[in-house]
């Protein structure tokens, strides 16, 4: 009796009792959840830690919540309560995976339990192909990791300092499996393999060509006539010796003649060997453009509405030269009409039929739309579609 009467002892007993009751209630609460929610959905090979600890309340409020699924927070905000470091890293690295950047963690991960490692919703290759449909394995020659569905052998899932979410630069990555030996060097004219961009010529997934060579190949390279170029002095004149009329396309008021670090300004945009793009344009779509126009790619991130495939710059822009600023194909409207043919016929009058009172120019699609930079308004409009845009020219609208 005297012990119970001790105030500090009493306090300890009360705290212990409260703790036990809380644990008992939580356990009971989780068991209660399973009364309605199918227990088997939560009992797979890999179980998310809060589920395994029967702490449904860590993510859900059992009574009411502001977010769907009775969640405490939405999307990445909820995940960040435990995975803060990972989310910070995604924000800091140069190349984030789009769903990760947008906080759509649940696009790839199951928040409760999965048969796949890392709580992935499906087998890795199937999961990746849900979005990257262009990588459907259809070609005859396939890279072993791709064949086995081991995307993460080369790519990180969330973010990277390398383009295409690669784990390392291409030479370091490839030489990790393909030893830098005499045989390999001989196939590459004894070049320093550590300084070669393997992905310039090889498709890392699949190809119809042996050695996974990319589809578009420079004719001398395809014929194995390496010395037709490598036996000569490297300069723009080397390219012009075969492409005799190409310089005419550069000799325009606006052009892409740029100082070269590679001996020929052609090589700033084109590869002399093999490419995944037509015209032997280097890298993935938009990659070479980003080298000089990085600011545009950064500004796009702040746009609510951006043209689909905006990184495919060459769909709309001339690569060599043009008579108008921005080097749009056909001066503007043609670039749009290639895809938006019907819209071009029934929309606001353009061309000689309507002049922009702001600068006297013939109206074009880009008078009202800014598909390249993107805008805060639907359809990449330069102002609100109900009024704000129109009154710039139609004062009484």
């Amino acid at each position: 009796m005297s012990n119970i009467g001790n105030p500090s002892q009493l306090l300890r007993t009360l705290i212990l009792a409260a703790g036990l009751i809380a644990i008992a209630l939580t356990a009971t609460a989780t068991e209660l959840c399973y009364d309605c929610h199918d227990r088997t959905l939560f009992e797979k090979k890999i179980i998310h830690t809060p589920v395994a600890k029967q702490r449904c309340d860590q993510c859900h409020n059992p009574h009411l919540a502001r977010h769907e699924g009775l969640l405490h927070q939405q999307n990445e905000k909820l995940c960040a309560s435990c995975h803060q470091t990972l989310l910070e890293k995604i924000g800091q690295q140069e190349f984030p995976h789009q769903p990760a950047e947008q906080g759509q963690c649940l696009l790839c991960h199951d928040p409760h339990a999965s048969q796949q490692p890392k709580l992935l919703r499906d087998k890795m290759d199937q999961l990746c192909l849900n979005c990257h449909k262009e990588l459907e394995p259809v070609k005859s020659v396939r890279h072993t990791p791709f064949l086995r569905g081991q995307c993460s052998t080369c790519h990180t899932a969330h973010s990277s300092e390398q383009p295409m979410l690669l784990r390392k630069n291409s030479a370091a990555l490839c030489l990790g499996c393909h030893p830098n030996n005499n045989s390999l060097r001989q196939k590459h004219l004894n070049r320093n393999l550590n300084k070669i961009d393997c992905l310039e010529c090889h498709n890392p997934h699949q190809s119809e060509n042996s050695a996974l060579l990319r589809a578009t190949q420079h004719q001398p390279f395809k014929r194995g006539e390496c010395q037709s170029c490598h036996g000569q002095k490297l300069s723009g004149d080397l390219c012009m010796s075969c492409h005799t009329t190409i310089m005419e396309s550069f000799n325009q008021q606006f052009n892409h003649i740029v100082p070269s670090t590679n001996g020929s300004f052609c090589f700033e945009c084109h590869t002399p060997h093999a490419s995944q793009q037509v015209g032997l344009v280097r890298g993935y779509p938009g990659e070479v453009c980003r080298n000089c126009h990085a600011g545009k790619f950064e500004r796009r991130k702040n746009s609510a509405h951006l043209h689909p495939n905006a990184d495919r710059c060459l769909d709309c822009h001339q690569l060599h030269g043009a008579t108008q600023p921005a080097m749009l194909k056909g001066g503007g409207d043609k670039a749009c009409a290639d895809c938006h043919e019907k819209h071009n016929n029934f929309s606001h009058p353009t061309g000689d039929k309507a002049h922009d009172p702001r600068n006297g120019q013939a109206m074009t699609c880009v008078s009202c739309h800014d598909p390249c930079n993107g805008t805060l308004y639907k359809y990449n409009l330069r102002g609100t579609s109900d009024k704000g845009l129109c009154i710039q020219c139609h004062a009484g609208y």
Binding site: Q253, H293, D356, N359, G360, Q392
Partner: protein, 302 residues
Amino acid sequence: MRGIDMKIIWNHKTIIKALFVAVAICSLAPLSAAAKKSALISQLVFPATGEVSAPASLTLDLERQRYYVIDSQGGRLLSIDKDGNPLDDFTALGKLLKPTAMTFARPGKMWLVERADNSLLYIDMKTQIIRKFNLHGTDGKALVPDRIATDANHRLYLTDRRSGRIYALDDNLKIAVAFAPPAGGHFIDFKIKGDQVWALERTNGDIYSFSLSGKQKNRIQLEHELDTPVSLEVDAQQHLYVLDRALAKIYRFSSKGKYIETLGQKGYRRGQLNYPSQLLLDWQQRLCIVNQGNDRIEVFSH
């Protein structure tokens, strides 16, 4: 005594408050300076609407107070008086194909860049006789002249698009002096002011000053991030102006590169900039901008 004590306490509070206010004002002052954005006031617009599509460049005749607009697509030069009125146009009897830049040589003579074959034309205005020159560098590679200017001794300077260098040419059009950018960089514009050449480097947006003999005097790192610097100007007080094409803005800096203010707004209306390409100061120290995307030249005071 109590009343006096209270007064002392009150004074302390006042002093502390005053200190807070002073600190706040001091901390805000640089912020407001950093965010300073002056307006450009459009004084003149030319040529007339629809006259020129995407003017290529502008040249000034400071003595006669005239503007010369290069109409590349029309294959001609337009002379404009100090009030923005058209005076004449010049096609060299239809021999100009795609002119992109001009500068005066000796009186009555001009140099002109012909983009159709990247040649340099020497034109006698009176006789309209044209001499064409294809220039080559010391390595034998053809030069691609872009911006051109002459100094007080009529010596011709040009930027070469291929090498990213500025060259001063002798009377035989051989390279006399090369003004080299840092490795991996290229000079996109330059101005000759007295015995100095000021050059704008595209990659880092730094400004370099050289003596006319090619000796680098200064490298000025600008205290402001630029996106696509395309043109520079230097006023009588050695303030530096840099035109950013992608952002359609002009940034003004001190001679040491300290940021002073931002000028200009993107858009289509008069006073607004769309794909601006070149910056010049006229005889009244007004900013002349080749407002390429809006098909006009605009002269601004600020």
